[in-house]
C-alpha cells in the first residue's frame, strides 16, 4: 500500500492561508490503514479547523481516492457548497485526482512516503520502488532495489556490519537477507548469475498503461 504520514498541522494551516470555507475528503484504503485519512482523522481535522474559526462546508470519504471514477462523485458537491479550499487526506495520487475534479485549490494533508508493507499495526516498511521489471523471482521474494540502500542488483557492497546495512544500522542488509532466504530454499545458485542490466528506460516517467487495447 501507499504509506503516508501527516504533515505538521502548521504546514497545512499555512497552505490554507485565510480560506474560511473548507471541504475535506478522506480515503477508505491506504490512508485509513496509515491513520492519516480515515473517517476518524477526517472528523478530527474538521473539529480542529472549526476550533480555528474555519467553516467546514463538506466532508466526504472515497473508497479509493486514487480512482477517478470513485472519487469524482464524492467531491462533486464541494464547489457548490462554497468551498474555498479542499483538503485531501489521501496520498499524493489521491490528492491529484481530487484536485482535477474540483475548482477550489486542493491541499495535501499528508506526505506520501513509500509503497510498502504494513508489518503490524502502526509499523510500515518500504518494500517496492516500482522499478517496472520485477526481480523478486530471483531474489527469494526480497526486493534488492528497495531493501538495499544502494539498489544493488548483483550482490552486496562490502559495507555491511553484523548483518546490518552500512547506510542505516537499524536495517538488515538486504543481500544477507536474500542469501539466507535462498539458502533456506536451496536456491543459492541464483546468486552466481550476473543479472542482465535492466537499465532505467522502463522508469522514465510519467508512465501510462492502457489495457483497453
Amino acid at each position: 500500500m501507499i504509506v503516508t504520514k501527516k504533515k505538521p498541522i502548521e504546514e497545512l494551516m499555512a497552505m490554507l492561508g485565510d480560506a474560511k470555507k473548507i471541504a475535506i475528503i478522506g480515503c477508505g484504503s491506504c490512508a485509513t490503514a496509515c491513520a492519516t485519512g480515515g473517517e476518524k482523522e477526517v472528523a478530527e481535522l474538521k473539529k480542529y479547523l472549526e476550533s480555528q474559526g474555519r467553516t467546514v462546508v463538506a466532508t466526504a470519504m472515497s473508497d479509493y481516492c486514487c480512482m477517478n471514477l470513485t472519487t469524482k462523485g464524492k467531491v462533486k458537491g464541494f464547489d457548490a457548497a462554497g468551498a474555498e479550499a479542499v483538503v485531501c487526506m489521501a496520498c499524493g495520487d489521491g490528492t491529484q485526482v481530487v484536485a482535477a475534479n474540483v475548482k477550489a485549490p486542493t491541499y495535501p494533508a499528508n506526505n506520501t512516503m513509500f509503497l510498502g508493507e504494513a508489518v503490524k499495526f502502526g509499523l510500515f516498511e518500504e518494500a517496492c520502488h516500482l522499478c517496472g521489471n520485477c526481480v523478486l523471482g530471483e531474489t527469494g521474494g526480497i526486493c534488492p532495489i528497495t531493501r538495499c540502500a544502494k539498489s544493488l542488483v548483483n550482490g552486496p557492497c562490502g559495507g555491511s556490519k553484523n548483518g546490518k546495512c552500512e547506510v542505516n544500522p537499524e536495517n538488515d542488509c538486504a543481500w544477507i537477507a536474500i542469501y539466507k532466504r535462498l539458502e533456506q530454499q536451496g536456491r543459492l545458485d541464483n546468486l552466481s548469475k550476473t543479472r542482465a542490466d535492466k537499465g532505467y528506460e522502463d522508469v522514465a516517467y510519467p508512465r501510462t498503461i492502457n489495457i483497453r487495447g
Partner: protein, 308 residues
C-alpha cells in the same frame, strides 16, 4: 600497457599505493608525495571521494599524476555518476593516457560529509566493469552507438572484503567482477594472515582466476585501530596489534619521544608485506596509508620490496 598490468600479468609482485585528492584545488602535497612513490610502486590509486567525503575528483588528480610522470590508477564509483557520466569520464581519462582503473560501488552519501547529495548507483561495480568490457569488445558506447574510432582499453580492477559473513556472498560477487573483466582485485585492509589465507583458499576453491592484492593499512595508533574496528566494515585489527601500539605509546611517553606507535605501525606493515611476498601468499599489495603516503617508501624498503 600500465606498469601494474605488466607486473601482474608477468607474474611479478604488484605494488600500488592509495592517495586521496585534496578537499580543495591545491594538489601540491599529493604531487610531492607522488614523486616519493615514483619508481617504488606500480601505480598510485586515486580515490573517488572515499567514505563519500567530498574531494577534488579522482580524474583530476590522475591527470596531474600522469603529467608528472607517475602512473595513476583511476578509481570509479557508481555513487555519483550515471553510466553516461562514467563512460564520458573514461573516454577523457583515456585521452590523457590513463589506462588502469578500479571499479567500486561507493560509500553511500548519508555516511559522508555531504549528506544531501543524491545517490546515483545507476551501475554497481559489476555494472561498471561490464559496461567497459562491452565497450572494448564492440567499440560502442553505453547506449550501443558506435564510438568515433576504436574504444579505449583499460586494465580493470575491483575490490573485495575478505572478512565478511556470509563470505560466500563476497565470493559470488567476486566471481561476477572477474567475469565482468576485473583482472586484479584489491582487498579491504587485512591485518591477520590467517583470515587472508582463508579467503584466498576460498577464491582458489571457487576457481576464480584473478590477481589478488592484499590491502595494507599501516596503523598510526591504537586509537585508529580501535576506531576502524568499530566503524569500518570488514576491518578486524587483532587485539595483540592494538596492545603493541598501546605499549609503544606508553614507552614514548616515558622516554619523551614522539611517533613510536607510527614507527611500530610501519614495522608491522613491512613485516606483513614481506611475509606475503616471501611466502608468495598473493600477487601483490595495495597500501592505503591514509594521508601518510610519504611513509610508503620506508615500508617497502623495510619489507625488502623493489619494483624493477
Amino acid at each position: 600497457m600500465s606498469l601494474l598490468e605488466k607486473a601482474l600479468e608477468s607474474g611479478k609482485f604488484g605494488v600500488t599505493a592509495e592517495m586521496a585528492p585534496p578537499k580543495g584545488y591545491d594538489f601540491t602535497k599529493q604531487l610531492e608525495d607522488a614523486q616519493l612513490l615514483s619508481g617504488k610502486v606500480h601505480g598510485v590509486n586515486v580515490t573517488d571521494m572515499q567514505s563519500a567525503s567530498l574531494k577534488a575528483s579522482s580524474l583530476g588528480l590522475c591527470i596531474k599524476l600522469k603529467q608528472a610522470g607517475v602512473e595513476p590508477i583511476l578509481q570509479v564509483t557508481g555513487r555519483d555518476r550515471s553510466r553516461m557520466a562514467i563512460m564520458a569520464d573514461m573516454l577523457s581519462a583515456a585521452a590523457f593516457g590513463i589506462d588502469t582503473m578500479l571499479a567500486l560501488t561507493g560509500d553511500h552519501p548519508v555516511v559522508g560529509d555531504c549528506k544531501q547529495s543524491k545517490p546515483v548507483y545507476d551501475l554497481d561495480s559489476v555494472g561498471i566493469l561490464n559496461m567497459l568490457s562491452t565497450m572494448e569488445v564492440t567499440d560502442r558506447d553505453c547506449g550501443g552507438n558506435e564510438l568515433d574510432g576504436s574504444a579505449p582499453r583499460f586494465y580493470k580492477g575491483a575490490a573485495v572484503t575478505p572478512v565478511y559473513e556470509p563470505i560466500q556472498l563476497q565470493i559470488n560477487k567476486l566471481r561476477q567482477k572477474v567475469d565482468a573483466g576485473a583482472k586484479y582485485i584489491q582487498t579491504q585492509g587485512v591485518f591477520d594472515m590467517e583470515s587472508l589465507k582463508r579467503f584466498l583458499d576460498l577464491v582458489d576453491k571457487a576457481n576464480i582466476k584473478c590477481h589478488i592484492m592484499a590491502g595494507i593499512i599501516p596503523l598510526k595508533a591504537a586509537g585508529m585501530a580501535k576506531y576502524m574496528n568499530a566503524n569500518v566494515p570488514g576491518i578486524a585489527v587483532p587485539q595483540d596489534m592494538i596492545d603493541r601500539l598501546e605499549a609503544a605509546a606508553a614507552e614514548g611517553k616515558e622516554k619523551g619521544v614522539k611517533g613510536l606507535p607510527m614507527q611500530l605501525g610501519i614495522e608491522m606493515a613491512a613485516e606483513f608485506i614481506a611475509k606475503i611476498h616471501d611466502e608468495k601468499i598473493c600477487d601483490g599489495v595495495h597500501i592505503m596509508a591514509i594521508g601518510a603516503e610519504k611513509n610508503v617508501p620506508t615500508i617497502l624498503e623495510k619489507a625488502g620490496i623493489t619494483i624493477e
